[in-house]
Symmetry: C2
Subunit: 215 residues, 2 copies
């Protein structure tokens, strides 16, 4: 089947959102935990998360502007710290429910039944039920003028993860940690590894990298 | 296990790259097809792809700067059109092999054994073996000064996909189209759907959205 620009523009907005959101491939999904200056916690699912760089360790996500009420964005700009929390099979329904439009005075943690965990002297709440938890310091806000979205870039300053998921070469086995992925706006998927492949060089055959955890 | 900034900075660069690249979650991976002004084709795998917006339909990816030789970036800026091609189980090894540093005069299509497909009056080559193919028009280059990476944003102007994967509500079932996902720098994974969940509203229980394809 073939769609060109005219076919895409002819779709109604809901259908267009569902279709276009499916096209990039499977998505990184995380729960973002924040707190405002009055110590009110907020939790929201995001599916537009992207690796920006390893050195320094930077991660980004896209959000709509503050003109609509966006507690996550507002809290990050207010308090400068936030958390990414991987989503697993046990909590994906609660994670999805955080996307409902709750009032600012309501904590999504309480509403959906997830536990705000304050630890390691970190200002923002982690999700206790998440198996991989990441503490992030806000670094930069970039306005994407073409469609009025915003890219938020932060530096990874804390990582909590199960030791048995860490490979000897640094790779973290996020399948073993039960992290799931998403597609479109509302579909959730577990994964099954095909294999890890060796660093590619011209004229050299690829080999499988065996999964070898740290001792 | 707990890493803070000091622990992360203490990792050697290869280990740090593998670890940090694992943290965002499962990744959108695509083969990006381009052509230069002399009609030399290029193909490269990218794992930093992100949905930017549905209306207009925008998609982005991050790349390193042109100071290192980056044929994909150079070609996009030269010819303004490029393709995203989903990766499936049959071609992921060939897709991974495109990350080797081939000379600019070499087409990765030929080297790895994938087929450049020119069609629909589109300037850039699609990957014939990809089941979902997307034609994109370059819109904006944003320099991320914090680590000298570049965000390339394009508008989706063509989509080729199997009709039997399109749901009645606009969702494209990219699991049925055999699209796979990645984690870290080198791990490839198939997926298994848990479920699609209804639009979340406060105080309303979520329900499963049944997968219903167009007639």
């Amino acid at each position: 089947m073939f769609y060109n620009s005219d076919d895409i523009f002819a779709l109604d907005n809901v259908r267009k959102a569902k279709f276009i959101n499916s096209l990039g491939g499977f998505k990184s999904i995380n729960l973002i935990g924040t707190i405002n200056k009055n110590n009110q916690s907020n939790l929201a699912i995001f599916n537009s998360i992207v690796h920006i760089g390893a050195n320094p360790p930077l991660i980004g996500f896209f959000t709509r502007p503050n003109s609509v009420e966006r507690h996550t964005l507002q809290n990050i700009l207010e308090t400068r710290y936030y958390t990414f929390n991987h989503i697993n099979k046990k909590i994906y329904e609660k994670a999805h429910q955080t996307s409902a439009r709750y009032d600012a005075s309501i904590s999504e943690f309480d509403e959906v039944g997830l536990t705000a965990e304050f630890k390691n002297d970190f200002k923002a709440p982690f999700v206790q039920e998440s198996i991989v938890q990441i503490g992030i310091a806000f670094k930069q806000k970039i306005d994407i003028e073409i469609n009025s979205t915003i890219l938020i870039i932060g530096e990874i300053v804390q990582v909590v993860f199960p030791k048995e998921c860490l490979c000897a070469d640094g790779y973290l086995d996020i399948e073993k940690s039960e992290t799931i992925t998403g597609s479109g706006l509302d579909s959730y998927h577990t994964t099954a590894r095909l294999e890890r492949l060796s660093y590619a060089k011209p004229d050299i055959n690829l080999t499988t990298i065996p999964i070898k955890y740290v001792e």
